[in-house]
Amino acid sequence: MRSVAIIAGGVFRDSIRDRIGYGLVFFSIMLMASSFLLAQLTAGQDVKIIKDLGLAAASAIGLFIAIFFGIGLVTKEVERRSIYSLLSKPVTRTQFVLGKYFGLVLTLLINLSVMAAAFYAVLLYLDMTTLPGAKEAWETPALDPLLLKAFALIGVELMLITATAIFFSTFSSPFLSVALTFAVYIIGHFGEDLKNVNAIVTSTVLPYITKTVYYVMPNLSALDVKSAVVHGLPVSGTSMMLATASSMLYVATLLVGSILIFSRRDLK
């Protein structure tokens, strides 16, 4: 456990000093701030636009970091051979994979917290500069605590995507790993459509294939409550817990798979 924590700390320190990571978080905050300007052009929809754009920016930037940094965690170590020194220390390959995963998850959650704070700062400014009469047109209050539910589930989604990226990077090239992880993300968000494909096609075989894919792929649409919280629709604690629990089960499966594959791999 100590080795996992030390490796995770190393990943965290290395990634928070990475200029690309800084740039992405800065870009996300700028996007949130610019949404404020965009919102000035619309009447009554300003708070909705800011929330939509802010949550989308946090999710997209997090996704980008999870995929590209997640894949680099293993492939860069192997390609640059920095893993040789690391694995000669009293560290197992299991500890290596877990340390890398938790290090990036820690980085992502801190980045997400920074983006959430910036997001609420923009909304606070909007709230303070908007006349009480104008606020009546808003579907939900600017500083709606429900937004935190969306951020929490974005965090869960990023944990799942990071595990997926690491899983693919243990046996395929970086390019293929990016493509496969992105494919999982896309399919995961269209799970319901896959499940109900028999309603729109006449084929007898295709629905079986799409249903299999639906059950194998993670259900990321269950983690996407961005639209619901922006419109003030209820998001139950039970559904959040169920979605989180199934995602964590998926994360655990992917990590076990990653460890099994990586433990048998020759590091040429």
Binding site: S85, K89, R264, D266
Partner: protein, 320 residues
């Protein structure tokens, strides 16, 4: 208990995309290294030296055979606590400083934060990294990274250290410092196993060497054993030769070189015993001017052994 022991250690790689064939990177290596030795693992590029070290570090898995370090199977976490390893052309995390990297590795051995900092500082002094220790590693030259690599290999005060081409990328001063460091390690009782194709390093440092060629062990022994007196024959200088004695003795002489004034230099192969040849020469009227052993250098042995290895490395069978 041996410091290192390998038995039939073999590694095949599959090469070729359409018709993959097994390529023999290492073929049945049997090797023992005693504790406290400075052991040179020599061979030309592509001989299998790095493959062997990767197998010992369990970075790759053997096709067959097995290896032990300090009496335990390779990969054992308890053994990893007692060894150090410098990979060939090491690379570390760009965004960490040399000091942070060493502290990071020291923590893996259970050192406290204070002890980790102290060890890092002492080792960076020892390998000649000064104020640069607070620079990010991305700003380091190849030689400086090599020095950091040597420092990280020693962070746990290992009982045995494996150095893969430790002099690579170092300037002459750096090479001398690393040689001195290896000798200090030996004096502390640390076993040093280092691979190199620079023979002068091995001659200066090693108590025993192994020569690997095309994945096979071509020779192993102490420098004295490998370059033993008379192992390459003798040089005999004679004068006053009469008659056809040289023609008669030709089958027992490698080369005959006239030196003028009736003197000849005779190169005798190791199979010719000078004590048997000399009476025959003297009885035919020749005078013995000098007799000197032809002592081979490590380079001679190396070139001879490497040239003698004519192995096809594309195996027709794959070990199970």
């Amino acid at each position: 208990m041996d410091a290192v022991k390998t038995e039939g250690l073999t590694k095949h790689y599959q090469v070729g995309f359409w018709r993959p064939r097994p390529y023999v990177a290492l073929d049945g290596l049997n090797l023992t290294v005693s504790k406290g030795e400075v052991f040179g693992f020599l061979g030309p590029n592509g001989a299998g030296k790095t493959t062997t070290l990767k197998l010992l570090m369990q970075l790759i898995y053997p096709t067959s055979g097995h290896a032990e370090i300090l009496g335990s199977p390779v990969g054992d976490v308890a053994v990893k606590r007692r060894l150090g390893y410098l990979p060939e052309n090491p690379y570390f995390y760009d965004n960490l400083t040399a000091e942070e990297l060493l502290v990071y590795f020291a923590r893996m051995f259970g050192c406290s934060a204070k002890e980790s900092r102290e060890r890092a500082s002492r080792l960076l002094d020892e390998v000649g990294i000064g104020a640069e220790r607070r620079f990010q590693l991305r700003k380091f030259s190849k030689g400086m990274v090599q020095r950091v690599g040597i420092a990280q290999a020693l962070i746990n005060e290992p009982e045995i250290v494996f150095l893969d081409e430790p002099m690579s990328g170092l300037d002459p001063l750096g090479r001398r410092e690393v040689r001195e460091l290896i000798l200090r390690l030996r004096d502390r009782g640390c076993t040093v196993f280092f691979s190199s194709h620079v023979l002068s390093d091995a001659e200066a440092l090693c108590s025993r060497v192994a020569i690997l060629a095309k994945g096979r062990l071509a020779a192993v022994g102490s420098l004295d054993e490998l370059t033993a007196v008379g192992s390459r024959g003798w040089e005999l200088v004679i004068a006053g030769v009469k008659g056809d004695v040289l023609t008669r003795l030709k089958p027992r002489i490698t080369t005959t070189t006239p030196l003028g004034d009736g003197r000849f230099s005779l190169e005798l192969p190791p199979s010719t015993i000078p004590e048997q040849l000399i009476p025959e020469l003297v009885s035919s009227g020749a005078r013995i001017v000098s007799l000197n052993p032809l002592r081979g250098t490590l380079e001679d042995v190396f070139v001879e052994q490497v040239r003698a290895t004519g192995v096809d490395r594309f195996s027709t069978k794959v070990a199970s």
